[in-house]
């Protein structure tokens, strides 16, 4: 083998993080093919081995589309408030349409209240946090069905 193990490891990590769908590497004695496409057939003889069982924890929630829904995430840690003031109606309700500049909630840090904007157009599909709860940076506050898709299902 003329390729170092750590190089292979580094490549695999790089690949996992990348947008690439396939990575193919050939050196003197080793050929490495990584693919995220389950349909991409790998050639060669069928010296298959049983797949090792997967035990990794589910990935942490990230601001990516889930079932076509896009989260609005917390810009920092703070306390989540759905309404401008106690006793007033919430900024948004589930089912309501929002545009990029719609204020959807407040995040409070030491009595400083900062409005959070939707950041995209669409329809509020779900509220993820209870009023008055602490949220961390990056936590999903609402799930939004983006406009294009909302139009389809309307």
């Amino acid at each position: 083998m003329s390729i170092e193990r750590k190089e292979v490891e580094a490549l695999i990590r790089l690949f996992e993080r990348s947008d690439w769908h396939e990575l193919r590497l050939e050196t003197d004695g080793l050929k490495l093919v990584l693919s995220k496409d389950a349909d991409a057939a790998a050639a060669g003889s069928e010296a298959a081995v049983a797949a090792a069982s997967a035990t990794e924890d589910p990935p942490a929630p990230a601001p990516e589309a889930v079932d076509g829904l896009v989260p609005i995430t917390a810009p920092n840690l703070g306390t989540f408030y759905r309404a401008p003031k106690p006793g007033t109606p919430p900024y948004v309700e589930v089912g309501q349409s929002v545009s990029e500049t719609t204020e959807v909630c407040l995040i409070e840090v030491m009595k400083l209240f900062t409005p959070v904007h939707a950041g995209l157009s669409g329809r509020i599909a779900k509220a993820c946090v209870e009023d008055g709860e602490m949220v961390e940076f990056g936590a999903p506050l609402f799930l939004v069905e983006p406009e294009a898709r909302a139009a389809e299902t309307a």
Binding site: K6, A10, A60, L77, M110, L112, M134, E136, F137
Partner: protein, 452 residues
């Protein structure tokens, strides 16, 4: 005060260190991390980790309100600020006070009085602690000239608000004064938003020595001996030792006394360091400044005294006072710390963040590693480049130097550039072994010796 849960307002090795100390004292810990540090060792070891904000420190670690909000929201009744970041911010200390959170450090007013260098010199004067002959605030090059005329050259012009070597300029003769004043003033404004300057005598052959003190906040103060941190690059410490083996006994006891006097004068609470410039030729030590927090180099003191300084800080915050009297504190052996950084000395010490592929630290008798890194850890590009502190202790300085050389040689880190080889060459240099060092040795003698 009966405390139960400590918010750790820091990252890296000191966050790990504080989490471990909390556990040792039966306290829970919550660490506030940035998005880049979600997977950090401190986050894994603490009872809980919360993500404050995105990776840049100003939006996470340096946001005072965010930090205190997180501490309150997670039910913490104490906050440890570590070093760097907000550790010397009187605003944080005051906010904690107001919110009923025990700040593990001095009172806000102490931080204020010692945080500004001019104010600190005044306090030292009140406490009868000798300071290097220096000016009050200087507002013009002309005022600097007048001072230099009476104190003699060379003269150091430096920012009042500063630290870390920024806003400093050495004038070796009259012709340098004008330029030095302008440059120092500019840098001070740029770095600290405050152009106030002062000037002092520049000691050519100087050692940086500092005394570790601890106070209960009610007048009781002890010292844990001194450290020698003369090996510096651009005013940043590179290697630290305890004790300062080169100090004559008279100078040693004189700085111990001065440090305690200063701390008692302020009813100092928690851990602090009083820094002195030791004039080798005159055998005199002058007060430089006080650091109102635990320091990076605190482990060398722990290794020669056997005390746990972080646990002691926690005990004081809990209202338990000092665990020892001065008579109980005995020093044995010698300890050295090398700061291991993710940086490439051969490329001007450029930071080298990235993925650590292999992490094989030395181990065994007399070896201590304080670090948040391990194989597979990612060194983010947003913060300080220190990835480990390698600390050795031995019966004598000679043995400790030998042990440090071997330990550095054994330490293997793959995936990122480090200063391991640089540090090894440094501690194996004959001047280092012979303790023929001063604050300019690294830049004036050692660095040139690497060029070939």
């Amino acid at each position: 005060m009966a405390l139960s849960r400590v918010f750790v307002a820091n990252r890296g090795e000191i966050a790990v260190r504080v989490v471990r100390a909390c556990r040792a004292r039966g306290l829970e810990s919550v660490v506030g991390v940035s998005d880049a540090d979600r997977e950090s060792l401190a986050a894994a070891l603490a009872d809980r980790a919360v993500v404050l904000g995105p990776a840049p420190a100003r939006d996470s670690y340096l946001d005072t309100n965010l930090v205190v909000h997180a501490a309150k929201a997670t039910g913490c009744d104490a906050l440890h600020p570590g070093y760097g970041f907000l550790s010397e911010s009187p605003v944080l200390a005051r906010l904690c006070e107001r919110e009923g959170i025990a700040f593990v450090g001095p009172r806000a007013e102490t931080i204020e009085r010692l945080g500004d260098k001019l104010a600190a010199r005044a306090v030292a004067g009140e406490a009868g602690v000798a300071i290097v002959p220096g000016s009050g605030e200087i507002r013009s090059a002309a005022e600097a000239l007048t001072f230099a005329g009476s104190a003699g050259y060379p003269v150091l012009i430096k920012a009042s608000a500063g630290g870390g070597g920024r806003g400093m300029f050495v004038a070796r003769a009259e012709v340098d004064i004008e330029e030095g004043f302008e440059r120092a003033s500019e840098e001070a404004r740029a770095a600290f938003g405050d152009g106030a300057l002062f000037a002092e005598r520049f000691v050519e052959d100087a050692r940086h020595v500092e005394v570790q003190i601890m106070g209960d906040g009610a007048g009781e103060v002890v010292h844990y001996g001194e450290r020698d941190c003369s090996v510096q690059r651009r005013f940043q410490k590179v290697v630290e030792e305890a004790p300062a083996a080169a100090l004559p006994p008279r100078a040693r006891s004189s700085i111990h006394d001065a440090a305690c006097r200063l701390a008692r004068h302020l009813d100092y609470r928690s851990a602090g360091t009083v820094e002195f410039l030791y004039d080798v030729a005159r055998e005199e030590a002058y007060f430089i400044e006080a650091n109102v927090r635990i320091q990076v180099e605190h482990p060398v003191t722990e290794e020669v005294t056997g005390v746990d300084l972080i646990e002691e800080q926690l005990r004081i915050a809990q209202g338990g006072g000092l665990s020892v009297t001065q008579e109980d504190i005995a020093l044995a052996g010698h300890a050295i710390e090398c700061r291991i950084n993710a940086e490439a000395p051969e490329r001007g010490f450029a930071p080298s963040p990235g993925l650590i592929d292999a992490w094989c630290p030395p181990a065994g008798r007399g070896i201590r590693i304080d670090s948040h890194c391990r194989a597979g850890a990612f060194v983010p590009p947003f913060y300080d480049s220190m990835i480990a502190k390698l600390i050795v202790r031995a019966g004598s300085r000679t043995e400790a130097v030998e042990r440090m050389g071997s330990a550095l040689a054994e330490f293997r880190i793959d995936g990122i550039a480090t200063n391991l080889a640089f540090q090894e060459r440094l501690v194996r240099h004959p001047d280092f072994a012979a303790n023929r060092l001063n604050t300019r040795w690294l830049e004036d003698v050692f660095m040139p010796s690497l060029v070939h």
